[in-house]
Symmetry: C2
Subunit: 392 residues, 2 copies
C-alpha cells in the first residue's frame, strides 16, 4: 500500500467530515490547506505553489482531487482515490492575469450539481488567496459561500493509533536531530555547517524509517538574534559566550514532533541561567497539569503561575495542537495553550508545548511535543529538559 493509512481510515475520515459538513449546512467543501488535503486523500507533493484542492461533496463516496495537469500523476501515485476522482486544469491556467485555476474548479462544482448550493471554503487557509476566492465566487454566482476555515483541522485534533505511531517516530527523529545539534553547535563551527548537520539528520531519519522534510526549517538564532523567534542561521562562526535557540522537528509521513532547546557555549550569564530554571520548571508544571478534562487554558495557567513566581511574563501562547504539516507551518491552528481557550483535553490529542521567551536582551526556549493519554500526558521526545551547556 502506497498510502500512509488503510483505506478504511480514509473512508472513516471522509464520513466524519461529511457529517460535520451536514451539521454546518454545507453541500460541498473546497479544501485548499495541503495538510487537510493530505489528511483526506494522502496527496503528497510539493505542488501547493499552484492552486489545487480536494473537493468534498455531500453524499459522494470519494473526494475529488484537482490540480495542475502535470501533477495529476502525482495524485494517482499518492492518494487512495480512483482515476475518475482525479481532475486537473490545463497549463493555460497557470499564472495568468485573466484566467485562474479556480475557474475550472467552479466548473467542477457545477458538474457535481453544486452551482446553486452552499459551498464551504477555507477563507484563511494558506494558498487560498484573495484572488482565488474572487474567481470562484464570480464563476458560481448562484452559490452561497460559507467560511469553513478549520472545519477539517478540528477533526484532526484527536489522533488515531496509527497517527500516534507516526508522531512517535517523528519524535524519535527530533531527539536524534537535537543530539546532532548539540554536537555540531560548537565554538569555531560555522552556523550553516551546524544547520547542515541538523538537516542531514532530520531527512535521513532512523535506520528503518525515512525522515520527511519538516514544514519549518531549523530555527536557530544565536546571540542577539535569540531576541527574535523565527530567525535562521547566518554566515558566522560560533564564539564563546553564545547562546543559541534551536527549534526543530522530526517529521515522518508528514506528522511532526517539534522540539526546542537553548544551548550555551561556555558559561551562561546569570540572567540566562535564571530564565532556564524558570522555563524548565514552567514546562514541568504545565506537563503535570495536562490531562483529560483539563482545558488548554488550565495548562497555560499552570505555566504562567510558575514563571510568575520567578518574575517572568510571557505574552504569547505556550503551545498549540500539532500534527500533519506542510510549509509554512506544522501547527494545526485549532486549540492553543492560552488564556481563554476552553478546549478540553482528551486522549489522543497532541500539542507542541512551546515555552519560548524572547526578551529584548535575548531569549530562551524549551519545548516538547506531548500526547494526552488516558490519565495525563507524555512527552514524546527524550532529551535533557533544561539549558544545554557546552563548556568548550
Amino acid at each position: 500500500m502506497h498510502t500512509a493509512f488503510e483505506r478504511a481510515e480514509y473512508e472513516a475520515r471522509l464520513s466524519e467530515l461529511q457529517r460535520r459538513m451536514s451539521d454546518r449546512g454545507l453541500d460541498a467543501l473546497v479544501v485548499s490547506d495541503p495538510a487537510n488535503m493530505y489528511y483526506l486523500t494522502g496527496y503528497d507533493g510539493w505542488s501547493f505553489y499552484v492552486p489545487q484542492a480536494v473537493i468534498v461533496v455531500l453524499g459522494e463516496d470519494q473526494p475529488v482531487w484537482i490540480g495542475r495537469a502535470q501533477d495529476r500523476n502525482g495524485a494517482k501515485l499518492t492518494t487512495w482515490l480512483d482515476d475518475a476522482h482525479l481532475e486537473s486544469y490545463p497549463e493555460a491556467y497557470v499564472q495568468q492575469p485573466d484566467v485562474h485555476p479556480m475557474d475550472v474548479m467552479a466548473d467542477l462544482l457545477r458538474r457535481h450539481g453544486r452551482a446553486s448550493k452552499t459551498i464551504g471554503v477555507e477563507m484563511d487557509a494558506y494558498y487560498y488567496s484573495a484572488r482565488a476566492h474572487a474567481h470562484l465566487t464570480r464563476h458560481l454566482p448562484d452559490a452561497r459561500f460559507e467560511d469553513a476555515t478549520l472545519l477539517v483541522n478540528w477533526q484532526r485534533i484527536v489522533k488515531s493509533p496509527q497517527e500516534i505511531a507516526y508522531m512517535r517516530t517523528a519524535a524519535a527523529i527530533a531527539s536524534q536531530a537535537m543530539g546532532v545539534a548539540a554536537q555540531a553547535i560548537a565554538v569555531g563551527a560555522r552556523e550553516c555547517d551546524a544547520a547542515a548537520a541538523i538537516f542531514q539528520s532530520q531527512i535521513a531519519g532512523l535506520a528503518d524509517k525515512a525522515g520527511d522534510y519538516p514544514a519549518i526549517v531549523p530555527l536557530m538564532p544565536s546571540r542577539e538574534r535569540t531576541s527574535a523567534s523565527h530567525l535562521t542561521w547566518v554566515d558566522r562562526h560560533y564564539t564563546v559566550g553564545d547562546t543559541v535557540n534551536i527549534e526543530l522537528a522530526g517529521c515522518y509521513r508528514r506528522y511532526h514532533a517539534p522540539l526546542s532547546r537553548t544551548m550555551a557555549l561556555g558559561r551562561p550569564s546569570k540572567q540566562v541561567e535564571a530564565l532556564a530554571v524558570a522555563v524548565a520548571e514552567g514546562v514541568n508544571e504545565a506537563l503535570g497539569s495536562a490531562r483529560p478534562g483539563a482545558t488548554c487554558a488550565d495548562v497555560e495557567a499552570a505555566w504562567r503561575k510558575t514563571i510568575a513566581r520567578h518574575g517572568f511574563v510571557k505574552e504569547s501562547r505556550v503551545g498549540y495542537a500539532v500534527g500533519i504539516g506542510y510549509p509554512p507551518d506544522w501547527g494545526e491552528h485549532t486549540a492553543s495553550l492560552r488564556e481563554g481557550d476552553g478546549t478540553v483535553l482528551s486522549p489522543g490529542m497532541t500539542f507542541h508545548l512551546m515555552a519560548g521567551m524572547w526578551l529584548d536582551a535575548g531569549g530562551l526556549e524549551i519545548s516538547e511535543t506531548v500526547l494526552v493519554t488516558e490519565t495525563g500526558c507524555e512527552a514524546l521526545s527524550d532529551f535533557h529538559r533544561g539549558l544545554v551547556v557546552k563548556d568548550s
Copy 2:
C-alpha cells in the same frame, strides 16, 4: 552591515516602486509576498505563517514593516528600516476566529492618511488569504482597493550587479549539490539518505559562503514516480534500472539558482536515452536563442521546434523568471518561457530554463539557471548537460 545590500540599493528600489505605484494611481501598497518584503526591506524570518506585510506609502521615505509582536525584533535585526517604521500587532490577534491581524494593518493605513485613498493589494500572493482581504476591506470601507499582484515582482525581473553576484554563488552551490546527488544516489542507497546528503550540501554552502534554505526541497522522484513533477523521496533503496529526476537549487541570501538532471542507475532504456538526447538538444537550442531583444516566446519556440524534430511535445512552459524566493516557490511569477509571452529579454534577467518532460511512462528533466547578458545568455551552473548514467 547586516543587510544583503547597501542602503542606497534599497532606497532606489523604494523610489522605483513609488514611481510605479504613482503610474498605477496607488496611494499605498500592502506587500504580503515574503520575497517582495525581503526585496524592499531585507526582512528575513520564517514568520510568513502568520499575516505580516510591508506597507509602502506614496511620499514616505521608508516602508513600514508590520508583523507579530514577537517577530518585531527579527525585523529590527534584518531590515534597513529605523525603529519608527517597525510596527506590530499584539498576540491577541493570532489565529482567532473574530479578529485578524489585517484589522491592525487597516488602522495603520488610517494613521498614514490612506483610509479613503487607493490601496494596492497583492490579491494572488502567497499568504494573502481570502479572509485577510475580507478583514482589510471591511475595516477600510472608504478606501478603493486595486489588485497590484506582481507589481513588485515585475520590478525584480532585471537583477543588479550585486544580485547577479548572489545568483552566481547560488549556482555554485547548486552545482556542488548536484555533484553530491550524483554520488549519493546509487544502487542500494536509501532515497532519504541521498536526500539528506543533498540537503547537507545545500545548507553548508561553499567554504566561504553560507548556504541558505531553498524555497523548495529537493524533488527527486524515482522509477514510476518520475511521471510526476513534484514528488520527493520515499522509504526505499535504489535498485538497478531506476531513473531519478533531481530538481534542486542553491540558495544564497535568498537568491536561487535551480538546476535539474535525470540520473539512470544502470543502462537506461532506449526511450529514456532518446528523450535525454532530445531534451538536451532542446535546452541547447533554447540557450542559443536567448539574447537581448528576443522574447520569452522566441526561446520557447526554439525549444519546441527542436523536440518536435524528435517527436516530442511538452504542454507546460519551459521556464520562468527566478530570483528571491521563500517557500513554497522560487519562481517570480512574471515572465514565462511559453507561447504568447512577449516579454523582451534584456541584460540582467535570470530565468530557470526548465525542460521537464513528465510522460505517463516516466519523465526526464534537464534545467539550467540562465543570465541574459549583453550579447546572449550564460548558464550559471556548471554540470554535464545530459543524462547522468551511473553504471554500477
